[in-house]
């Protein structure tokens, strides 16, 4: 197992992989927000569907 | 210009439609002088801006190629923006859709008209450029060949993008936005060929053949692509 030199190079490599992870998590966050919006809308429509025919 | 009874007569061959549209466009341009003088004035003004922006009174090599080509490209965008305005306002698109003619005839005609405008522009802009900035006019001959190939590429991509942009909301913005990245390879090849032609010590021809090849490839590919997809652009 090669030693990991914690010099300048290490910071750049870590930075690159961190950017990758950050973008991925950002994507997840955005999709989560979208999913929340969809769920909210679905709930609202379900409510409307239930009371609609009854009204 | 009536089409007659479709059943009694043969459909207009694409060539005749092409010639008719091209002739109409050139006639209108000659009469109204909308695009070409504007492009020429724009080019000369841009040259003056560059003179001061770069603080140079003489240019050669890569600077000369860059200034000339960038100016021509931006001037071309002016014409490209206006290419289909008349068609949109006067129902030219509908006419083509109804006529028993391949939509590609419209594309070819408009692209050809654009080439004519660009050639006319270059008749003014290139001598003006040489007059302002060049010490020797020796490289201009072969440069014309380069410019013709550039014009063909500009016409192919410009006409395609213009047709799409004209049917959108931000049409004046969309053309430069989409067109400029598409024109980068054209610019690379044209500058590659023009640089040695405008070199200080006299025209050189390094890689001239290679760059002409790339230009031709660009023209061929985009002309083919545009020709192939154009009917979808015209669809209502």
């Amino acid at each position: 197992m090669p030693a990991l030199p914690l010099d300048e190079a290490g910071k750049y490599v870590a930075g690159a992989y961190l950017v990758f992870v950050a973008l991925l998590l950002l994507y997840v966050a955005i999709m989560a927000a979208k999913l929340q919006r969809i769920e909210r809308e679905l709930r609202e429509l379900a409510d409307r569907a239930e009371e609609g025919p009854a009204a | 210009m009536s089409a007659g009874e479709p059943s009694a007569r043969e459909p207009t061959p694409a060539r005749r439609a092409f010639a008719a549209i091209l002739a109409k466009d050139l006639r209108v341009e000659l009469r109204t002088l909308e695009s070409i003088p504007a492009m020429a004035l724009f080019s000369v003004a841009t040259f003056i801006l560059f003179r001061y922006g770069l603080d140079r009174t003489s240019l050669d090599g890569s600077l000369a190629a860059g200034v000339l080509l960038a100016t021509l490209l931006f001037a071309a965008v002016l014409a490209i923006n206006r290419l289909f305005v008349a068609e949109l306002e006067q129902g030219g698109f509908d006419a083509i859709r109804l006529a028993p003619v391949d939509g590609s005839a419209l594309f070819a005609a408009k692209a050809a008209a654009l080439v004519v405008y660009l050639l006319a522009l270059e008749l003014v802009a290139v001598p003006a450029f040489a007059f302002f900035f060049l010490d020797s006019w020796a490289g201009l001959g072969p440069l014309c060949l380069v410019l013709v190939l550039v014009d063909l590429g500009l016409a192919a991509t410009g006409t395609l993008i213009s047709s799409m942009a004209i049917n959108s909301r931000a049409r004046d913005l969309l053309v430069p936005l989409i067109l400029l990245p598409l024109l980068v390879p054209l610019m690379i090849a044209a500058a590659g060929a023009a640089q040695p032609l405008l070199a200080a010590g006299g025209p050189g021809y390094e890689d001239f053949g290679q760059w002409l090849g790339v230009l031709t490839l660009y023209d061929a590919i985009f002309a083919l692509v545009a020709y192939a997809v154009y009917d979808f652009v015209l669809e209502d």
Binding site: P5, V13, A16, L45 | T157, S168, P181, L182
Partner: protein
């Protein structure tokens, strides 16, 4: 239809990526020229290749869309471009980091692959304003497909032009996995490439699933509102492809 297998796909992606990154840091040998910095290669290059392939795939979906008129193909084309653009952002950022680490500046015009990629990325960024600017849904989809095909033809041409323009002064230790790479590096690269490729497919499937859900939601809302049913079209996804609703 889309969620089926999405979980398996995502798990496979995670497994492959973790394996790949483990190989990068525990298995792959140090590069003779660049040392530790070269490790960025295993992240940057697979993403670039996958993004480019994604854009070409989008062109194929666009061709199918124009041929069949089925808006499902348009949705796939749109998403292929969208996911590749996201990957493109990562490519450019990691490329800049790599350039800074290797050469001291955040950008290098001498690296033809990176420059070519920037130009292509810029072109595909204009895809969004093009779609937003056209209101009519069908026309928007059609023009988007025309754009995707044109841009797909552009990618190889641009690469050739940029490659020719750069005098290859800098030794090409970078970029594409050319000859001279030891086997261990190759293996690591391939595993990372597979992982990134799976990631692209996972994200694309995910997006498609979200899009079709939104579309069905819109259908449900319209049905509940009692509006006249829209023109039926196979696979509604274009309903949520960016169409700016206007008051006109």
């Amino acid at each position: 239809m889309y969620p089926k297998g999405l979980r398996t796909l995502a798990l496979a992606t995670v497994a492959t990526l973790v394996a790949g990154f483990a190989l990068v840091f525990y298995f792959a040998p140090l590069d003779a020229d660049q040392g530790f910095i070269q490790k960025i290669f295993y992240l940057h290059v697979p993403m670039a290749i996958v993004a480019l392939v994604g854009w070409v795939v989008a062109a194929f979906w666009a061709i199918r869309h124009l041929r069949s008129g089925d808006s499902a193909h348009d949705a796939r084309s749109y998403i292929a471009i969208h996911v590749s653009v996201i990957f493109g952002v990562a490519v450019l950022i990691t490329g800049a980091i790599w350039a800074r680490a290797a050469w001291g500046h955040w950008w290098s015009w001498d690296e033809p692959t990176l420059v070519s990629f920037l130009i292509v990325f810029l072109l595909y960024c204009t895809y969004y304003p093009l779609r937003y600017a056209i209101e009519d849904r069908e026309r928007q989809a059609r023009y988007a497909s025309v754009f995707a095909i044109t841009a797909g033809a552009f990618v190889p041409l641009n690469f050739i032009a940029v490659r020719l323009a750069e005098s290859l002064v800098h030794p090409r230790t970078f970029a594409t996995a050319e000859g001279g790479m030891p086997t261990k590096m190759w293996i690591t690269f391939l595993v990372c490439f597979a992982g990134i490729g799976l990631l692209w497919v996972t994200l694309a499937r995910f997006e498609l699933s979200a899009k079709s859900t939104s579309a069905n939601l819109a259908r449900l809302r319209r049905a509940l509102d009692g509006d006249a049913p829209e023109r039926p079209s196979a696979g509604r996804p274009t309903a949520t492809v960016p169409v700016r609703a206007t008051q006109s």
